[in-house]
């Protein structure tokens, strides 16, 4: 059981978290945009999250908090 | 305290230490080398830091870092080196850092000569680097005055959070004169809560000259300008020598003023000419009022700016006199100091209406 939270307003939509997620459970929100005008990252299958924090470590904007 | 015979450069260095300066960053250049040399000897003895930098550029940026960290700090150089320091001085002004820069001016432009000159006047009094700013700029005429002004230079730098320049020349730096050194500063240096690494502060310190928003940058400039207005109102220093009822007013500063004082005495004896001297001690803020008041006396026929340059301060004299009396210029440059005879020749020419 793990949780990954995004401080969405800080996200610039670069997608590095998506690229580096070993479980491939992240994506850029297809429709929603944040105040900066980016499609923020989101988790589509939290059940599969192993809390490895790879996403957070590659995020250049320190958007992600991970719990396990 | 008894007088001691000291070289200008060494006396200035010692006066800085007595004023509580404990950090010196410099780079060798003639004719100011005795300042860093003296500092390298003395600083370790008083628990201070002397560091010879890899360049003048680096030295002034070390001064910037030390000033930003709250230290009483200085550097010294001579004309070509001062040009290199202008970058750091401009940044220090922008970040409102107190520091003292000594310039023992030599002939220019370029590598110029190593003999005394006053050809850095524009650079010293108009800011020197990029941006709208001024430095408080002292122009002592002898070693005692330089020594007496050192403490004041540091104090004003702290008070206004602005760099202060001591504008000497190769003569002032190299001459040996009897001088009475001041007592070492006893009171604690002023607290600098705005500086980096200081205790007892709620917010973190940011030492910075970048204001990316033009409106903010303008506001910052307006604040600096207000500060300069206060300095102009409060910090002008000038000496009037026999100006009352004079026929001719000579305006001269620093080493040049000393030669002019002798020339004025001889002018009276040999030419029957009453020459009064206005000697700016601060060249910024400039003593416009003193120059004007001396010039507009009914007795005064002419005003002369005498300089070791091709004519720089004469612009300020013209601003001060504002057309009320004829203003002319005499000077020699490149490291040549006008002699008493040179000056007498020029003054007699004025007397004869040439």
């Amino acid at each position: 059981m793990a949780s990954v939270k995004f401080n969405e307003e800080m996200c610039k939509g670069c997608g590095l978290c998506v690229t580096f997620c070993p479980k491939q459970i992240l994506r850029m929100a297809p429709v929603r945009i944040n105040a900066k005008g980016y499609h923020p990252a989101e988790c589509i299958d939290l059940e599969k999250c192993i809390g490895c924090a790879s996403c957070a470590r590659m995020c250049p904007d320190v958007v992600i908090t991970v719990e396990r | 305290m008894a007088k001691v015979l000291m070289k200008g450069n060494e006396a200035i260095a010692e006066a800085a230490i007595l004023a509580g300066c404990r950090f010196f960053f410099g780079y060798p250049i003639t004719p100011q080398n005795q300042i860093p040399e003296y500092m390298s000897k003395r600083m370790p003895k008083v628990g201070g830091c002397f560091l010879q930098a890899e360049s003048e550029v680096s030295a002034i940026n070390m001064v910037y870092g030390a000033a930003g960290a709250g230290a009483r700090v200085m550097t010294s150089s001579s004309s070509p080196g001062i040009s290199l320091k202008q970058e750091g001085i401009s940044y220090a002004v922008g970040a409102e850092l107190p520091l003292v820069v000594v310039n023992m001016v030599r002939g220019g432009p370029g590598l110029g000569s190593i003999q005394p000159a006053q050809s850095d006047y524009f650079q010293a009094t108009r800011g020197g680097g990029h941006g709208d700013y001024r430095l408080i700029c002292f122009a002592p005429a002898n070693v005692q005055e330089a020594v007496d002004l050192m403490g004041k230079a540091f104090d004003l730098a702290d008070q206004y959070r602005n760099p202060v320049m001591m504008l000497g020349d190769g003569m002032l730096g190299q001459i040996m004169e009897p001088v009475e050194m001041p007592q070492p500063r006893k009171e604690a240096l002023p607290a600098k809560k705005w500086a980096a690494g200081q205790p007892g502060r709620s917010e973190r310190a940011i030492i910075n000259s970048l204001y990316i928003d033009p409106a903010a940058c303008e506001e910052h400039n307006n604040d600096l300008t207000k500060k300069y207005k206060v300095i102009e109102e409060n910090e002008v220093m000038v000496e009037n020598i026999d100006t009352e009822g004079a026929d001719i007013i000579v305006v001269a500063y620093g080493t040049m003023a000393r030669v002019c004082m002798r020339a004025a005495r001889e002018a009276k004896e040999k030419l029957g000419l009453k020459v009064g001297i206005v000697r700016p001690i601060t060249v910024w803020p400039y003593p416009y009022k003193a120059v004007y008041e001396a010039a507009v006396q009914p007795s005064v026929k002419a005003v002369v700016s005498i300089e070791m340059s091709c004519g720089q301060m004469v612009d300020d004299v013209r601003i001060a006199v504002n057309g009320a009396k004829p203003v002319s210029f005499y000077g020699r440059t490149g490291g040549v100091v006008p002699t008493v005879k040179d000056i007498l020749n020029y003054l007699s020419g004025i007397k004869e209406g040439k």
Partner: protein, 244 residues
């Protein structure tokens, strides 16, 4: 549940101004975390460069100074001499450190100045719009080398870590990269070692971090990481260059 990863308090709440996918943000985070973990964050003094990281003083939650272009090591020297008990660091890009500030970094290193330099090498001038840097690769297209860096005309990239490691003053020099998770973790270890060398009074320390510039390289963030790995690492091999 326990927190595995959260933003360190050594970073302020100000959002980074960096372009999407620029790895400056990762490097900022690593430095801030290390300062925090070493317990020196409260009293550290950082010096920001001129270049993309010019606003670093907005992000590191400690006393900060903004230096003139290339002069951060001189500025840090002044601060360190005043506060020898405090951790002082510079954060500089390749234009700032390896070009205009080459003299300042060489002599700070030669003096064994007890400061730590984080050198972010992305082989380009980012802030000014993608001009050729001292570390641009042979053949690399930039706005001032539009036909590719011609080594006949403008010479070769400068390998700062190798150069500085020849001096006696440095105590720790390592080159790392942030192109994947494993390397990000290694980069943090290197940064920690570098700061520890300063804390131990051993001398000058520097970590050169290979970084991306997706915007000026004209790539996606993902392509940029790949380009870094395939092109920059052969020119700038990773590893420890000096450890005293």
């Amino acid at each position: 549940m326990a927190v595995v990863f959260q933003k360190t308090s050594m970073l302020t709440d100000a959002p980074f101004h960096y372009c999407p996918g620029c790895t400056h943000g990762i490097i900022h985070r690593l430095v801030a975390e290390v300062l925090d973990e070493l317990g020196v964050g409260e009293t550290a003094i950082g010096v920001a460069p001129v270049g993309c990281a010019v606003f670093a003083y907005n992000y590191f939650n400690c006393d900060m100074m903004e230096a003139a272009h290339g002069r951060a090591p001189a500025c840090a020297t002044g601060a360190k001499r005043v506060h020898p008990d405090k951790v002082v660091f510079t954060y500089q890009g390749d234009g700032d450190l390896a070009s205009i500030g080459a003299a300042e970094i060489v002599h700070a290193a030669a003096r064994g100045e007890k400061i730590t330099t984080i050198f972010v090498n992305n082989a380009i001038y980012g802030m000014t719009g993608g001009q050729m840097a001292p570390t641009s690769l042979p053949g690399q297209i930039t706005t001032t080398s539009p036909y590719g860096r011609n080594t006949e005309v403008c010479g070769f990239p400068v390998n700062m870590s190798e150069m500085l490691s020849q001096l006696n003053g440095p105590a720790y020099i390592e080159r790392v990269s942030v192109h994947d998770v494993k390397n990000v973790v290694r980069a943090k270890q290197a940064i920690k070692k570098a700061f520890q060398a300063q804390i131990d009074g051993k001398g000058f320390s520097m970590v050169e971090v290979l970084s991306t510039c997706p915007t000026n390289w004209g790539m996606t963030p993902q392509e940029a990481l790949k380009w870094l790995e395939e092109n920059m690492i052969p020119q700038f091999p990773l590893g420890v260059y000096k450890e005293v």
